[in-house]
Amino acid sequence: MQDLFRRYGTGLTGTFFVLTAFWLLALVILPNLTLLEASFRPYLPVTEIGGPKDVYSFDNYRKFTANPIDSNLLVFPVTMPIHTITFLNTVIYSAVVTFVTFLLSYPLAYYLAKIADPKSLPTLILLLFIPLWVSEALRAFAWYIILTLNGPLNAVLTGVGILDKPIRWQNGVFTAYDAIMIGLVYTYVLFMLFPIYGSVQSLDRNQIEAAEDLGAKWWQTHWRVILPHAKPGIASGCVMVFMLSAGSLLVPAQLGSTRSNWFTQSIQQWMLESQDWNTGAAYSFLYILLCMVVVLLVMWIFKVKLSDIAK
């Protein structure tokens, strides 16, 4: 701190210090604290705010476990509160998205880190980055067009004779969430690719060669040497993709079917359609908490430490 003052002078350092503090306090911490406070208060007509009914309670949070209905989780019929089902579906399909991005990213990351010619690497990485320059909303909309009934995917598949007649992809072929998962995988795959690429790249090539020299087959080298080394990268990629998928609103809203519901959409419905910010805030905080529990649980199962992810 003193070093900064000495190097850049009191005026400049002070200005940036105040700006950063303002940003953190006024734009991040205070709004969140306000919402947290609001989440414990009932949704009341304006005239009754501050009145005798305006007391702190967990009522907003309890709505999460209200209204049991008959529905499906994956293929299993269940009777559960409607928002709990939405939450579980979101977590399950976000996990599937995370797993699929891992399956796509690991071979590609390994190829980029250890096989690709270093001279062509900048071109390859640029090609991977270009889609990221387009906004997430546009990319979701692009998939909407691709998957639509008279869209290019159906045209190609019926054209070459794989399909007899066009499919309503967005209604879901396997689950009601097919299109959402495609969109999320496409949107967040790079958040998995680059951490894995970084960790595989830091592996000494001699380690791979030593394993092979000692008689390991290619999959044994991956399982015993490369994957364990890449574990921190895989873990941070998984946490990022899972949290981003679970927290995505644009993609599920754009690509969802009539039978799909993402938890972010439930929050949005409380906030915008019901104008009930109190319940919306309660759902938001509950959601962050539950997602963190899921992440910590998975990290504990796979013996990943927090310090691994921070690498």
């Binding site: 001699n206 060669e209 030593a210 092979e212 000692l214 087959k217």
Partner: protein, 359 residues
């Protein structure tokens, strides 16, 4: 079990660069063979071709008489010890050692037992459950050897494994490596740029330069009878003179230089423009009276005390620099800077050699 290795006219190209150029050598089963040469001479490429990480562009490599071209490293009966050892940092010591058995499907109890045995062999008992990061450089070295021995290779390939150790430990590990090689009887192929290592450990040494094998011989022969100027100057120190030779047909030749005529050994058939006369500093004698032959009047320059010997740098009146090494045993008077002396050498201790040839 150990196997011999034949390199038959082996070449290896990287693009337009020829890293290994027509190398022919037969390494006997159970032999300790070193490839010695400066960095970039192609010795590591030879090692990688034997272990299977590179394929020869031309020529044949046979291990135990069998052509191994096209076999992957995991199919060859060789084990490579990398320069940086390449131990697996996320595995314990015993898992490292038994990795080769693990990938062959050996059960855990057997693997553990084998790892303990090998740790005893490399004199590191009780380290089984430690992690790699807890070991010192010399201990890591032993683990790498044990890990390679675990797969019962017929040939062990070592890529300058001692270069990261300090001097004392390096000398100790030399003896250790030699002892392990004798105990196991496995063929050892050792790569180094350190002539001391190569000479001290090997049964035979192959000296390499620019991808070509210059000379293959036992360590004494390499040092005492180098076939060319490269071998003479890479292995040990020399005083070198340039001039023209006139052979006398008895294995000796008159060698005319601007510093006077000399007489030295000259093998029949030595030709070429760049022939030079080489004489070792320990064969260069300083005296107050002129020697019988090959004598030059010199002035003593730097006198460096090296411990077991004293290195005296002198300059002749004609401008030639000659270094003489005196044993520090009290038998010779140590000259002082500025002394006028005569430097001489025996004709049989000096050799007239061409620059480079290929075996």
């Amino acid at each position: 079990m150990s196997a011999g290795i034949d390199l038959d006219n082996v070449c290896c190209d990287f693009g337009t660069f020829r890293a290994v150029d027509h190398v022919n050598v037969s390494i006997k089963p159970g032999e300790f063979f070193s490839f010695l040469g400066p960095s970039g001479c192609g010795k590591t490429t030879i090692l990688r071709m034997i272990s299977g990480f590179n394929e020869p562009t031309e020529g044949v490599i046979r291990i135990g008489g069998k052509d191994v071209r096209g076999q992957r490293p995991n199919q060859r009966p060789t084990a490579l010890i990398f320069q940086n050892l390449a131990l697996f940092p996320l595995m314990s010591i015993w898992e490292n050692i038994s990795f080769g058995l693990e990938v062959r499907g050996v059960d855990k109890a057997t693997r553990r037992k084998r790892a303990e045995e090998l740790l005893k062999l490399v004199d590191l008992p009780g380290a089984a459950d430690k992690m790699v990061s807890q070991l010192s450089g010399g201990q890591k070295q032993r683990v790498a050897i044990a890990r390679a021995l675990a797969v019962e290779p017929q040939v062990m390939l070592l890529d300058e494994p001692l270069s990261a150790l300090d001097l004392k430990l390096r000398q100790h590990m030399r003896a250790e490596l030699r002892a392990i090689q004798k105990r196991t009887g496995v063929t050892f192929i050792y790569i180094t740029h350190d002539q001391g290592e190569a000479l001290a450990m090997s049964d035979r040494v192959g000296v390499m330069s620019h991808g070509r094998l210059q000379q293959v011989a036992d360590p004494r022969d390499i040092y005492n009878n180098p076939v060319n100027g490269f071998v003479a100057s890479f292995v040990g120190e020399n005083n070198v003179f340039t001039g023209t030779a006139s052979p006398d047909g008895s294995g000796f030749a008159r060698f005319d230089t601007q510093h006077g005529p000399f007489r030295a050994r000259m093998a029949p058939g030595v030709t070429g423009k760049n022939i030079k006369l080489y004489v070792r500093p320990e064969h260069t004698i300083l005296s107050e009276a002129p020697g019988a032959e090959n004598s030059v009047a010199v002035t003593v320059g730097d006198v460096a005390f090296e411990g077991n010997f004293i290195s005296v740098t002198t300059t002749s009146d004609t401008g030639a620099q000659m270094v003489a090494e005196l044993r520090n045993d009290g038998s010779t008077k140590v000259p002082a800077t500025g002394d006028k002396l005569y430097a001489s050498f025996d004709a049989s201790a000096a050799a007239i050699l061409p620059d480079e040839t290929a075996v």
